[in-house]
């Protein structure tokens, strides 16, 4: 057993993992990143449209600030989010854009003067301010009140990960490419690193670390049709789940993106609609205004996806040999705009559909897109139940997305959480209590257990074929745990998945090489994925309400009275076939934005008993402190103490200069606290 030691072990080489490692490194700690693939090939790269941050540079973003971003995000989450974490996020997002601007991301910039844009299907001329010229530009996205999405053409994630991965190289952070963590090393109280398999040689190595961070992205491949890269299999989620101690939050919250190209499921960005693209049906009719008069194509993704499926069910879908779909029309944006600002979309349509989107309609249908659920963490990014284990990005339930995340908020979360959690890891390592007495027998025991599991897959007596089980799982999830959910379907899904789980214990590979072996990889990942799928399906079955992306036909209302709480799933008994669920209540009495109507989607919901009182309290404070938004926020829900010192403080904007009369304005934390 070879052992590698480091201060920090980061599992996952996407934006969250890279930024977390850079943060720890800048605090003077050694970090090693494990990645299935070269870091720049991670799925972060696929974020096309942009990153939300309330810079308010463009004229349509004027008046935007942290407060507006906060409200949009909480409404988007259907009140499932942790509002303190949302506050931490919205205050750090502008800093993240500015840091990336300094690191080399070629953000698209504002050009002064008139320009023509498409708003609500009409050509409109808007005029950008002189003083905004050359600053980072923003575009419109779904579920937002202001134009807030900063972008690099439609290759935002690509440009971001290129800059951040190069930054990691500049800071000499090693990325161990083509390695995969198979299990966390832990004693039920703290985490000591992971057992890791080299995917080229098959060598099994113990990576011992004082802090371990999971940043492995989403679990889209639990479904048959997903926009996610093929490596987004939820393995980081499963690593945490398999400890039996760490918990996963809100796994039933799965987002479907309205515009996966049909039938391949490859994403075309929300920027298509943000820039003015329309959704049309078999008759060429623009149907979204019929359902959503307020936000139309730019309601939140859960709402648009449901309306699309509803419209197809009403017989308005376009029939094709692969099934039904709808149309995305961006022809009205013009060739010049598409080839410059939606270039990847142009390429995807050209190569995968043989369609020219400057002239033709694009066939689209909602496809699995984002995993809101993840490793439950505290605001610091650390697991509340397993010390030394951190998580960030899509793999985490931090929890800023609740039951639906807004477009542009995930790629923003990757870097923001990476910044904050990297810093928190630094603090954790600085505390003497974090020096572990590494129990080497435990490390060896874990290594031997994983070795035995692999041996059994290669030469055991099992008869099950991993690919067949995986396909059956994906079919069940797609057919029964999709956009519209029903109790009966969910029961069938849970039963079916339990049977698959039992069978997965008897997987045996036909190809038995111990080194590089694609079938072996499918085998052990499938075992993990079925377990993870059960946390999604079972969580969805038990949650008898509709919230955000979780929609129950048989319980169509949001029910705050019974369900304003976070699902926590764990798997304490390895031989069980179901996860253990418990629930963590969200406290209305502390909310800055008490639950209400989202501004789009269904208008009826069941109130929480505490909501009217809290709303009255909030209204009174708002009236008293109207005009000073910083003092007001501070009075409603103080959060700045949760942020690492270096990321505190206001964000400068054209209309909100940092210096008043030559003196920097005091930061909210330094002001006199206004009592609520």
């Amino acid at each position: 057993m070879r052992t590698v030691y480091s201060d920090v072990l980061v599992i996952g080489g996407g934006l969250a993992g890279l930024r977390m490692a850079i943060g720890a490194k800048r605090r003077g700690y050694d970090a090693i990143i494990l990645s299935l693939v070269p870091a720049k090939r991670s799925h972060s790269k696929a974020a096309q449209g942009g990153m939300q941050a309330s810079l308010a540079n463009v004229i349509k973003g004027q008046g935007d600030n942290e407060d507006v971003h906060f409200e949009d995000t909480v409404r988007g989450s259907d009140w499932g989010a942790d509002q303190e974490v949302v506050r931490m996020f919205v205050n750090t997002a502008p800093k993240a854009v500015r840091e990336l601007a300094a690191w080399g991301v070629p953000w698209s910039r504002v050009r002064r003067g008139d320009r023509e844009v498409i708003i609500n299907g009409q050509k409109v001329t808007i005029t950008e301010r002189d003083e905004a010229h050359g600053l980072v530009a923003q575009r419109d996205f779904g579920g937002t009140k202001k134009w807030r999405t900063c972008y690099v053409s439609d290759g935002t994630g690509h440009a971001m990960i290129t800059a951040v991965a190069d930054r990691a190289i500049a800071e000499s952070i090693p990325v161990h490419e083509r390695t995969e963590a198979l299990a966390l090393i832990h004693d039920g109280r703290r985490c000591y690193g992971a057992i890791v398999r080299n995917l080229v040689t098959g060598e099994l190595v113990a990576y011992v670390a004082r802090a371990t961070g999971i940043a492995t992205g989403g679990a889209g491949r639990l479904y048959r049709v997903s926009t996610n890269a093929v490596i987004c299999e939820g393995i980081g989620h499963a690593l945490a789940l398999e400890t039996g101690v760490a918990e996963l939050g809100n796994m039933e919250a799965v987002q479907f993106h309205p515009t996966g190209i049909f039938p391949a499921g490859i994403l075309v960005t929300e920027g298509c609609r943000g820039d003015g693209g329309l959704l049309k049906d078999a008759d060429g009719h623009r149907f979204m205004p019929d359902y959503e008069p307020e936000k139309k194509e730019l309601a939140s993704r859960d709402v648009v996806s449901r309306r699309m499926e509803q419209h197809i069910a009403a017989g308005k879908g376009v029939k094709s040999r692969f099934g039904e779909h709808l149309w995305l029309d961006i022809t009205l944006l013009g060739e010049k705009h598409i080839k410059k600002n939606l270039r990847e979309v142009f390429e995807i349509c050209h190569y995968f559909l043989g369609v020219d989107p400057t002239k033709d309609l694009v066939p689209v249908r909602p496809a699995q897109h984002y995993t809101m659920g993840g490793v439950r963490t505290k605001a610091s990014g650390e697991s509340p139940s397993l010390a030394g284990l951190f998580a960030a990005g899509e793999a985490a339930c931090w929890d800023m997305h609740g039951f639906n995340r807004l477009g542009g908020n995930s790629v923003a979360e990757t870097v923001v959480a990476g910044m904050i959690v990297g810093e928190e890891i630094g603090d954790y390592l600085a505390r003497s209590g974090s020096d572990p007495d590494v129990p080497m027998p435990l490390v060896r025991e874990t290594w031997e257990r994983e070795k035995a599991k692999l041996d059994r897959l290669l030469s055991g007596s099992g008869r099950e074929d991993a690919t067949a089980l995986r396909v059956a799982m994906q079919e069940l999830m797609t057919a029964k745990v999709g956009i519209f959910r029903r109790g009966k379907d969910l029961e069938e899904a849970v039963d079916g998945l339990q049977m698959l789980l039992v069978k997965s214990r008897d997987i045996r590979c036909r190809y038995t090489a111990t080194g590089s072996n694609p079938e072996l990889i499918v085998a052990y990942r499938t075992q993990k994925m079925i377990r993870l799928a059960l946390t999604v399906a079972y969580g969805a079955l038990v949650r008898t309400e509709s919230r955000g992306a979780h929609f129950r036909d048989d319980f169509p209302r949001r029910n705050d009275a019974e369900w304003l709480k976070r699902t926590l799933a764990s798997w304490p008994d390895e031989n069980a076939t179901l996860p253990t669920l418990r629930y963590e209540a969200l406290d209305v009495k502390c909310m800055e934005l008490p639950p209400g109507w989202r501004g789009y989607g269904a208008k009826d919901y069941v109130d929480h008993p505490d909501t009217p009182a809290r709303q009255a309290q909030v209204d009174a404070i708002r009236e008293r402190l109207a005009g000073d938004r910083l003092a007001l926020q501070q009075a409603l829900m103080p959060y700045e103490h949760l942020l690492p010192e270096r990321f505190r403080g206001r964000n400068e904007r054209i209309d909100e200069p940092l210096d008043v009369g030559g003196q920097p304005r005091p930061r909210p934390a330094e002001r006199k606290r206004v009592e609520a």
């Binding site: 070269p38 500015r98 690509h158 440009a159 500049a170 890269a229 093929v230 995968f352 043989g354 036909r510």
Partner: protein
């Protein structure tokens, strides 16, 4: 719809250097073509149904990550976005030359690219290490940002190096990918380096002066980067810097 689907004969180079005594050979698989089939779909079907041991790399399967570059009927390209209908009945697939072979169609482009980045220092050399993140960002002309992004679109797939004549003769050649990155950072007003500094890393025969201007790179780049003009431009500026 009544038309019978074609039967494709897909020949893959097979060789696993991890297995002692293994010899490189071609192996042919028969796959029934389907509507809209890409090499991503075909290769996965082979692995699921015909041969669980076949090695290849896909990540995004959408033409943006650069993992799946391989020789497709003798020409470097991205397998994920290559539709089989554009190819003849017989398709030959081989790993990219030049890069370290992992096995079958899988090569270690990641390792080479990291080495290239470390050698050429492909990151913005900031004027100050610490920026005040609370302040409004530095301005940049919109056209300049667009020019940088045009070169930043490189996905490090390795096609340009696989198609490069110089790389065959000079194992340490930085390739069009390396030269294009230098062009990108040279454009960037945030980068503190001057031409003398760039000359230090690409001003020799393993850098821009090694290029023989065969420009296979330009022909095969899946992102259609303007490699022809950029290499010529970097060569001119480096020549000027070298003569100073």
């Amino acid at each position: 719809m009544a038309d019978k689907n074609r039967m494709l004969r897909i020949s893959c180079l097979r060789y696993n250097p991890q297995v002692e005594g293994d010899q490189p050979r071609m192996q042919t698989y028969e796959v029934e073509e389907a509507h809209g089939m890409t090499l991503f779909i075909a290769l996965n079907e082979i692995r699921e149904k015909l041969d669980a041991s076949l090695q290849f790399d896909f990540v995004c399967r959408a033409g943006i990550c650069g993992s799946c570059a391989m020789m497709i009927n003798g020409r470097p390209g991205l397998a994920c976005r290559t539709q089989t209908h554009a190819l003849p009945d017989s398709i030959t697939l081989a790993p990219l030359p030049f890069f370290e072979l992992i096995g079958d169609l899988s090569v270690n482009t990641g390792k080479w690219m990291r080495g290239m980045s470390e050698r050429l220092h492909t990151w913005v050399h900031m004027k100050q290490q610490e920026v005040d993140l609370r302040r409004i960002e530095e301005r940049m002309e919109p056209e300049r940002a667009e020019e940088i992004y045009l070169l930043d679109r490189c996905i490090e797939c390795g096609c340009c190096v696989a198609a490069c004549g110089t790389a065959r003769m000079r194992p340490d050649f930085v390739g069009a990918v390396g030269i294009a990155k230098i062009a990108r950072f040279r454009l960037d007003p945030r980068d503190d380096r001057d031409d003398e500094a760039f000359y230090e890393v690409v001003g020799d025969d393993d850098g821009v002066f090694g290029c023989m201007s065969l420009l296979g790179c330009h022909d095969v780049c899946p992102k259609e980067l303007p490699l022809l003009t950029q290499i010529a431009f970097v060569r001119r500026t480096m020549l000027r810097a070298g003569l100073k």
